[in-house]
């Protein structure tokens, strides 16, 4: 999963235009929204687009979105569990 986490960091930086942030600065288990990377609701939509475009995965239950997108680690876990389903 570590490889996926590193890949996700790069993809997020590109997808969300986080040009002033290096992959190493993103802590895998820290919150992406709020205090962490300060992402907003538009960024959440972009992450959903990223999941669908790059991994062909949809978040079936919107209520689970907050938990799935909490951190890079939770995103990687969700992708690992749902890829190819």
């Amino acid at each position: 999963m570590n490889e996926l986490i590193e890949k996700l960091k790069t993809q997020l930086i590109e997808q969300l235009n986080l040009e002033d942030i290096e992959p190493d600065e993103i802590v895998a288990n820290e919150a992406l929204f709020g205090d962490g990377l300060c992402l907003d609701s538009i960024d959440a939509l972009e992450i959903i687009v990223l999941l669908e475009k790059e991994y062909n995965i949809k978040i079936g239950n919107p209520k689970e979105g907050k938990e799935i997108m909490y951190s890079i680690e939770s995103l990687a876990k969700f992708i690992t569990e749902n890829k190819g389903k």
């Binding site: 969300l16 235009n17 040009e19 300060c38 538009i42 960024d43 939509l45 972009e46 687009v49 475009k53």
Partner: protein, 204 residues
Amino acid sequence: MNKLYINKHVKLLNNTVYIDQEKKFSVESDENFSSFAKSVYKNYEIKYSKFYKMDALCKLGFLSADLLLRDLNRENILPEEIAIITANSSSSLHTDKNYQKTLSEIPSPAVFVYTLPNIVSGEISIKNNIKGESLFFIQDKFDTKFISEYVKYLFENTNTKLCITGWIEINMNEDYQTDLYLISKNEGSLEFIETNLNVTYNHE
């Protein structure tokens, strides 16, 4: 009515920053707009987490407004007393075109939110805590008579004490130009009259 004055003028054109007609900063002429904007952002040590997410039109207006408003004494001026009256000719076409490209796959929400020209006024307002009158006109060329009359009307008939006005343009070829003026009743070197709103174009 009391006279109005141009307190400051910021122009971004040909990879160069001019403040009150003086060349202040520039980068190589072969750099594209994105590189130029990033260089201006870093050179003037602007800190704003959303900057890199903005589209080109917003970056252009945001940087120009930041240079226009820095060092300004806003004591006794409420956010509601600052107006933003701007115009351009290409509207948000530069971003509309980018958004159109994303339609073939999954449309990008982050690009979509910039497909209106007046979003630039919103970005300037959020960063600088401005809550006054805000209008963005689409005009073939900067209509100095119309804009200057509109700004004068605001000072005469509303609570406006300060106004950012001018031209914020980037077209589909990435030719860009801003001419932003800071207008107030405080005496400045130039009176705010139609003929002193000088917007000359480099891409006709």
